[in-house]
Symmetry: C2
Subunit: 214 residues, 2 copies
């Protein structure tokens, strides 16, 4: 599935994820066809925005009709590259790491955590959710053996860079960093920072700001 255009805005990717969510809802409700207008309303965006976002990847609708819900879900998933499974390595089995390992939604969405790594000797050998925790030094071997492509860092911040180094050295293609620390990786490695405190900060800011306007 090729993209029509060079660069796709980050915001578009985020919205596509929302579209899938809402479309799945429509599907459960038994809706077969939906217009960009109706989808837009459910997603709280402009309908042109939706058509523009989709236009980056192709033409998925029928003029005068709308979009076939199931087809559109399939098309968006293919566009995003989530029409297949992705094997993930999780590095750092603390509180957050364990929560992610237990989170069923990952495999349901096609992101399958196949390896759990930690450098703490007390944790190595422990089994979490049917998965044995392995020493981080074994990453190169395991990445090759299990075709791991995405690394998930859930270490404390001071160990995030080392985890990243292990992952890069092992030949991983992308890293999703949940640790509250900036890390450096070669530029051919795709890197995403996840920090849900951003959302709390935004909420705090807006609540206080809105209050002050009275």
């Amino acid at each position: 599935m090729a993209v029509k255009s060079e660069h796709i805005p980050k915001a578009t990717i985020a919205r596509l994820a929302t579209y899938i969510q809402v479309l799945s809802e429509f599907k459960r409700e038994g809706t077969d066809v939906v217009s960009s207008e109706r989808l837009a309303e459910a997603c709280s965006v402009n309908s042109s925005q939706i058509r523009k976002d989709l236009a980056y990847f192709g033409e998925f609708g029928v003029r005068g009709v709308g979009y076939y819900v199931q087809d559109l879900i399939t098309s968006i998933k293919r566009s995003l590259g989530i029409d297949r499974a992705w094997n993930c390595a999780l590095v750092g089995v603390g509180n957050l790491g364990r929560a992610l390992l237990r989170h069923r939604e990952f495999s349901r969405k096609g992101f399958i955590i196949r390896g759990a790594f930690d450098c703490d000797p007390y944790k190595i050998g422990e089994v979490v959710e049917g998965m044995e925790i392995v020493c981080s030094r074994q990453l190169p071997a395991k990445v090759k053996e299990l075709s791991l492509e995405i690394g998930v860092i859930t270490t404390p911040p001071e160990r995030a860079q080392r985890a990243a180094n292990y992952l890069v050295g092992a030949g991983i293609k992308g890293i999703i960093n949940f640790a509250p620390a900036r890390i450096a990786v070669p530029k051919h490695i795709h890197l995403e920072y996840v920090d849900f405190f951003h959302y709390f900060y935004a909420a705090a800011f807006h609540i206080r700001f809105d209050d002050n306007r009275d």
Copy 2:
């Protein structure tokens, strides 16, 4: 702490959070003063971007010198409204909810989860991390009693709207929704959606896209 300007971009809020993170790192390393250039490099952004972001809130630097690290941290925190604690209600004590309750970072960052709510009779009365799970119907009483201001929804998607209704009815000011479902709230309630699968989707998309370019 007033803002100088009307509207502040969402991206600015997210970057401010990053600045705090990196500045804290500098502080730990013993750096007292930092230039926008050096901070920019550590955050992988443009230095004008940083000065622009800060200009929304005031003048925090000294020309010819730079920014005093501790002062800037304090100023940004005050600007974001996180120079004080926020009391939070968590609704939905499943896997994700429990992980958040156990996550020490929340109270360390000033977001204190003071109430855990669920409508499952089997969970009510159970104690997680020293907090008793309470029936969601008690939200109005507890919100008043404990001055809860931010609601965190970690229910399954089909129960997210009901959780939101409870929270809104109880007089909460903002909602952070971790459930993979869109919800409707009155427009004076600040609403943030958290979906870390967005980041996985983005990673999947870019990895596949970059591969195809060879």
